[in-house]
Symmetry: C2
Subunit: 244 residues, 2 copies
């Protein structure tokens, strides 16, 4: 049996919902998890509200191996992810002594309540000092709390990436000039013979080379190859422009 | 009282969750809704699964004025948005006679079951023939079912946009060289005096001009101006690089 693992992402971000900032963390995470063989089952973008975050954590965390959060950590009033995760797990927010020491050492005389807010963690949090980022990543139960700033989000994820590795997905792609509505019957027939196949069909407008990109995926390389060959044999002559 | 309207978006897309395609519809919609004065309260990206779509529709549709769906409409096996919306509303999927006629006229002898699948709608759907796109947009209760192909998503939304207009948001922006942890106390004090203010604080790494972008928003222009002036007076000399 292939080792399956799945994950979800909660993006905490008024700035994204209000169109001020383009969320690139979800695209990055989707691509990276796929490479690692992890299925991303949902992405949820919500406002900076404790209750909304709590409800999302409560409903999503039990359904996945890994839950990532992006954003809402920092010193200001709108940084409420820690409070939201805590409420969602029914735990308290506490000040972590190791983080407090780091912050006091770093800021010296300039330390204040806002700065010390960054030492707050959900009770029971494990601090992960992986990679080159000075400030650790917070892990509580199966929840990885990551900052929203894309450079740091990426750096932290990359430092931890081997934690998440599962068996890889194998992928074949067929580019076709046929219309999707013509291909549909062949795709359905393929799925009847290969019900476990992950089969996608994506039309592209105004592309001179092809009309539809068909993706076939499985964690079982042999199964994938058999499905791929079965579909290729069904397709009418000239339907296939290119394969990958 | 300012006219408030809110909205949510459900993106149906294995191709996005698996990192094959970058979702641009959610960014487009977030920006457009903001211009129209509509608050986007959540974006949810889920797989092409009837039950998952149904649950999302059931829980989100009652909480917003407008629910948009993106993707999962078309002739193939993975186009299950209509079925999901129907299940979420406890309604049937039916074949719409007007759509069936359009498809038969268009495809002629080449019509088949897969093509006629595009005539299926949730019972009680209203067809909106706005704009230049031949195929109408489906509206059922408060749910606008839009295709995932970005060009068509945009064209359809733009054709309907005046349906959604609310009172506009007013925005002021302050760029500051101070660290966010220094600014936090001033932001908190501003919120004490102006609790209805939408106040955001966004650090930018490695930017030569500023460290933090502070956004102030309200539907009440006068309230916004008073909050903006109050915060500007509090900030230490030299803290502000630029305002918008």
């Amino acid at each position: 049996m292939a080792r399956d693992r799945n994950a979800a992402l909660i993006v905490v971000g008024n700035e994204i919902l209000s169109g001020k900032v383009v969320d690139t963390n979800s695209t990055f995470l989707a691509q990276q998890l796929r490479v690692l063989g992890v299925s991303l089952t949902r992405v949820l973008v919500i406002p900076d509200e404790v209750g909304t975050i709590a409800e999302a954590v409560r409903t999503i965390a039990p359904t996945v191996d890994f839950l990532f959060t992006s954003g809402g950590v920092g010193p200001t009033h709108d940084d409420v992810t820690i409070a939201g995760v805590a409420q969602g797990l029914g735990r308290k927010v506490v000040r972590d002594p190791a983080l407090e020491k780091m912050l006091r050492d770093f800021f010296g005389q300039d330390v204040n309540d806002a700065k010390l807010k960054m030492a707050e963690v959900v009770e029971g949090t494990e601090l992960l000092f992986e990679g080159d980022v000075r400030f650790p990543t917070m892990l509580v139960r199966n929840i990885y709390v990551l900052p929203g700033i894309p450079e740091i989000f990426r750096e932290k994820f990359n430092a931890m990436r081997q934690r998440f590795a599962a068996d890889p997905f194998h992928l074949r792609v067929i580019y076709s000039r046929e219309m999707e509505s013509t291909l549909a019957a062949f795709l359905n027939r393929t799925l009847e013979s290969f019900p476990e196949l992950l089969l996608g069909s994506y039309p592209k407008l105004n592309n001179p080379e092809y009309r539809v990109r068909i993706t076939l995926e499985s964690k079982d390389a042999l199964y994938l190859q058999r499905a791929f060959e079965a579909l290729m044999q069904m397709l009418p002559p000239g339907a296939v422009v290119r394969i990958e």
